[in-house]
Symmetry: C2
Subunit: 379 residues, 2 copies
């Protein structure tokens, strides 16, 4: 297979993990970055210039304003945009082709093609090497999960400290709500140097919509899904863990649900090794659920049972390669880092998900997350 | 001008303000949304289905899994992606053309064109009406700025409470750092229901790189730029305010710098009204700075003086239309909401920026942000 041309990016590093991976510097607004002759180029505005020059992986940092001036001279009738700047910069180094990621903006893509650059859209990830994590990157993910665990501890402290008053939980004279728990969790993450946006604390039937973030009072004797995926500010890497808690007394049905989910997780982890197919790992969860009579059904009003993938890669993005799901063949490779997060969701009974993170090896996967699995807090 | 075809989006609502604006619901993973015959369609996975059906502005919500099954039947040799799903869904309603935003992902764009859909890339914003803010949207921005102001109060409390010990500031036996102030600010925002990521607290020469977020000890008698742009979780709208503080005693040069920046801001605000050109508003700041001898220069090692725009639109994105800068003609319209944020940056002397938010009217602009302008905290 012939090598692809070097990469071209136009993105900010908040939205594009590829841009952060390539330049190793935060840039909050979209900027131009590309490879040429083994060197990394960036074109940035005066707002970023000094900082990117000093602290990034870029070998050549060029001032955007110079290109804007040249673009206005060359195309006096149009406002210069990133495409014109890229075209001029490519001309300066006599380059006519690049590979762009599949999320490269269409507006810039179409204009560059019109100007005559040859662009290949990467058939998979732009930097496939991002999937395999170095020791430093693995440590950064572990740190993200340490922040998740601090979040669980904060939530557990409130749930255990709460008194049951009828259908409410009361902690320090306040009704325990999703919002209260999220604030405790997100503060704990912030203090540890991570931002946990979109934390999920969803109890009862809310938890049956896996992406419902949860609102309002947490009820006694109901399962509460707590999913914490903080981004460590210093590195940009994510943690991603989920626990299901219950304050009060679980029913036999809830216990059977929890045990099935945790057993499915363990079965999946036993199937994870380099060379294994992510689809087969997922199948292990499905088998545990089916053998215990937990059915998955898709109805007009939504789905019940187990209706998401078993896991996804984790790194500078919270969802990245590889995938472990029923619909995709994906061969796991040593060094990949994946979540393992089976779940079951039945309105009326509740939702339950347990999620940890492991690194794929040729043998048993290496755990990169740690928090206990007690979940029924009777007092 | 003929009307453009209806919009087509493939994005998550964290990254795409257009997607959030269109459907009025958070969806954390990229999903398909489009308009047809005056109705809004969404295609989402089982993870989102129930929630999007119940809580969004979408008139029709379709299950992604059904389309994946059909796509696998129709194209047995390829893994179905969003383009195949969009193509099938468009066929179902007999639609052959869409308008896509300029940040629509190239991979999906190129495949859809190959499949035969006619796509127009929006020549400007996909939803130009996003620029004009309703009463409800204006209130949401005001709420974002209330969170910014809580952040300033938290930072000011620490700076005023700190003792000067040589080249350090000491607060409750700890050295005051950018990190300490950012934690106080971000906690205050979190408690108020907003996430302030990437908060800038940059002192001394760090502040001269306007996008340096700041690290390490804050020094006495040095200007500290504090730029807080929190996103209110409940609405998705941003606040964006900046203040410059100094703990200790300012020099005459620092006072002249501060006064010039604040006067430039006031001059700009006086120039803001519907029909005014953003370039002329920017020019007012430049004139204040030039008349007082503050020069702007672009050198090989970076820029000094005033080298960014005067302001930008604010809403569901932290940077959106309109723009007020020296390089762009942009006519302001009543109902737009813009930041007004001149700044001056001179290594050795320091950086200073003051930023507020106003809504454009036919008369004096309406302030949407409020915090005092005291900045020299002697004790």
């Amino acid at each position: 297979m012939p090598a692809l041309p070097p990469p071209l990016l136009y993105a900010d590093t908040e939205r594009s993990a590829d841009a952060l991976y390539f330049g190793k510097v935060d840039v909050p607004d979209p900027f131009i970055a590309f490879g040429h002759s083994g060197k990394k180029y960036a074109i940035v505005s005066a707002l970023e210039f000094g900082r990117v020059r000093r602290t990034s992986d870029f070998d050549v940092v060029l001032p955007l304003e110079d290109f804007h001036r040249r673009a206005r001279e060359r195309w006096p009738d149009r406002r210069p945009g990133p495409a014109e700047v890229i075209f001029l910069a490519a001309g300066d180094v006599r380059r006519t082709s690049f590979t762009v990621p599949d999320d490269f903006p269409s507006g810039v893509y179409a204009r560059l093609v019109e100007l005559g650059l040859r662009l290949t859209i990467a058939p998979g990830p732009l930097f496939p090497e991002r999937e395999i994590k170095s020791t430093r990157e693995t440590a950064a993910i572990r740190e993200g999960n340490r922040c998740s665990a601090l979040g669980f501890a904060a939530a557990e402290r409130i749930l255990r400290g709460a008194r049951i008053k009828g259908r409410r939980l009361v902690y320090r004279d306040q009704t325990v709500t999703s919002e209260m728990l999220k604030f405790a969790i997100e503060s704990a993450c912030l203090e540890a140097g991570a931002v946990s946006a979109n934390t999920i604390v969803a109890g009862g039937d809310q938890a049956c919509d896996p992406h419902d973030r949860g609102t309002g009072p947490i009820r006694p004797n109901e399962m509460v899904i707590v999913d914490i995926f903080p981004r460590v500010t210093a590195t940009g890497f994510y943690g991603d863990m989920t626990r299901t808690f219950l304050r009060g007394r679980a029913s036999d049905a809830q216990r059977a649900l929890y045990t099935a989910v945790r057993d499915a997780q363990l079965a999946a982890i036993r199937g994870i090794r380099s060379g294994a197919n992510g689809r087969d790992v997922h199948r292990r969860c499905v088998e545990v659920f089916e053998s215990r009579g937990f059915r998955t059904e898709h109805g007009k009003r939504g789905s019940v049972g187990f209706f998401h993938g078993t896991g996804h890669g984790l790194g500078l993005a919270v969802h990245e390669a590889p995938r472990m799901s029923g619909s995709i063949d994906y061969t796991l490779r040593a060094g990949s880092v994946v979540t393992v997060e089976p779940g079951l969701y039945y309105p009326g009974l509740g939702g339950c998900r347990v999620e940890d993170v492991v690194q794929v090896t040729s043998g048993a996967p290496k755990p990169l997350s740690s928090y206990h699995y007690e979940w029924e807090f009777r007092s």
